[in-house]
Symmetry: C2
Subunit: 292 residues, 2 copies
């Protein structure tokens, strides 16, 4: 099976306030995912706070994950503001045994299509490890339109997949547009509350924040949706609905730290300036995961 | 005179492709600004590619600037994704002799008002150097609404000024709103093509990209607008109009690298993935600066 199909679980990366990865806690989070039956782990994604960790710690996290997850492929976020830094991170991840690289066009100055194309070409040249285009407009200020995805897929053999955000409109239409633009790419969605519909519409993968902690249920939902069992998929998705509401209010990352703290998996907090959930939102989160 | 009034000139930071600041080229750029009569230099702003340079190089740039600009105050961009890193950058800049710190709430995960407030409080505690709030929604994904500016100004004595983007609506109304929210702060605008109107409406400062290279003309425009001479200000602003058009198309940073290359001030290019201007846009830029 391709490492870019099925449930890809995106965990938090427990770290100290100074940004040092806590190996034991990360191992515990990853073992839970492996036992839950994820098809891959999306290490150092947005939920995994990759942009808040330095190069050494990112490499350490990959080494810990590959060692812990003997039979589950690890896809590693290698985004960086500078092209040369993204190349270095790609080489580090490949050297540690990553099965795939997740590359977002992280920006400060908003980037042009040509800049993003050249950036991806440069990172793809750095290793032989397949690349997932990470289309995450809310964090990168950049949207991959179908024409650019087509150009990237045509010109760069190392590009293997794309992780799309939920569209404003119909997800089946959105999926069809990107399929036609780049037929050879695996296509998955993130934005957990819409991913069931993405899989039912024929997407290959669910890049899942909730799957990084509630893996077994997310895997069951993925399996039901992939075999086209809409009734069962709807039933399993409904259990997650209160969690989706918290995600919409506060983002998946803050919610997953609070969940991990509540479940006793780690005492690590999100990296400052991101604050831990408190008060009402934390109470809602705790109620939302009680049923999971 | 406050370091946060008049023309604040924001230069590029010439650096090698590997991100090493080119001291001789930076000195040349800064001497031109000092001779042109800027009231302050905004070192390591967005045009100064601060987010693309590492901590060592940012500190080196500050040391070079303070040494070169004996009598012109240096305001230094200290934004970073992590709060502890922004604190370290603030301490570095203060130790090197910065007259002010420019702090943007740089984000990957979009930040909440409370997170930004705590971030600013933490950085303000790190030094005694006055802070300019850097409200730059297009690069940070965060907008400082007046209520948050009021809270920051009330609670944090070290906050001295705010750098605002051009509003969608009337700039006099916008200025009035922020003045009422935080009467003790100096207020300046960036977005060069609207700053003349900001100064004419009573703003204290123009945080200027063009001023980082065409300082003498920008200083004359600033002086005319600050003394309320609308006719002269309009006349001087009209000379810049072709440059403002290029800024709107490609952003000030790319344009200023091309201008510096064309004028022979440096051969440095913007940091990859940002690409140098080419073809039509470069020709337009060259034509726009021919009259300056």
């Amino acid at each position: 099976m391709s490492p870019f199909a099925g449930l890809s679980a995106f965990p938090i990366t427990p770290a100290t306030p100074e940004g040092r990865v806590i190996a034991a806690d990360l191992r515990g989070v990853l073992q839970r995912i492996a036992q839950g039956g994820a098809n891959s782990v999306g290490l150092l994604g947005s939920t995994g706070t990759y942009m808040f960790l330095d190069r050494n710690e990112r490499r350490r996290a990959v080494a810990i994950a590959v060692e812990t997850l003997a039979s589950t492929p690890v896809i590693v976020g290698v985004g960086a503001l500078r092209t040369d830094e993204a190349q270095r991170l790609a080489k580090d991840a490949a050297a540690e045994g990553a099965a795939g690289l997740l590359l977002a066009p992280v920006s400060y100055t908003p980037l042009t299509d040509e800049e993003v194309f050249q950036h991806f070409a440069a990172v793809a040249e750095a290793t032989d490890t397949p690349i997932v285009i990470y289309n995450n407009p809310s964090t990168t200020n950049f949207t991959f339109r179908p024409a650019l995805v087509a150009r990237l897929a045509d010109a760069i053999p190392g590009i293997a997949a794309i992780k799309l955000p939920l569209p404003r409109g119909d997800i089946a239409e959105d999926l069809k547009t990107y399929r036609e633009a780049a037929p050879r790419l695996a296509i998955g969605y993130s934005g957990d509350w819409g991913c069931k519909d993405g899989l039912l519409a024929g997407a290959d993968a669910w890049f899942s924040v909730a799957g990084g902690m509630f893996t077994q249920r997310a895997a069951a939902l993925t399996a039901a949706a992939l075999r086209g069992d809409r009734v069962e998929a709807d039933r399993l998705d409904a259990d997650f609905a209160p969690l989706w509401d918290v995600f919409k209010l506060t983002g998946g990352m803050r919610a997953m730290y609070a969940a991990a703290n509540h479940l006793g998996l780690t005492a690590a907090k999100p990296p400052l300036p991101v604050l831990p959930l408190e008060g009402d939102l934390r109470a809602r989160l705790v109620a939302a995961i009680a049923g999971l």
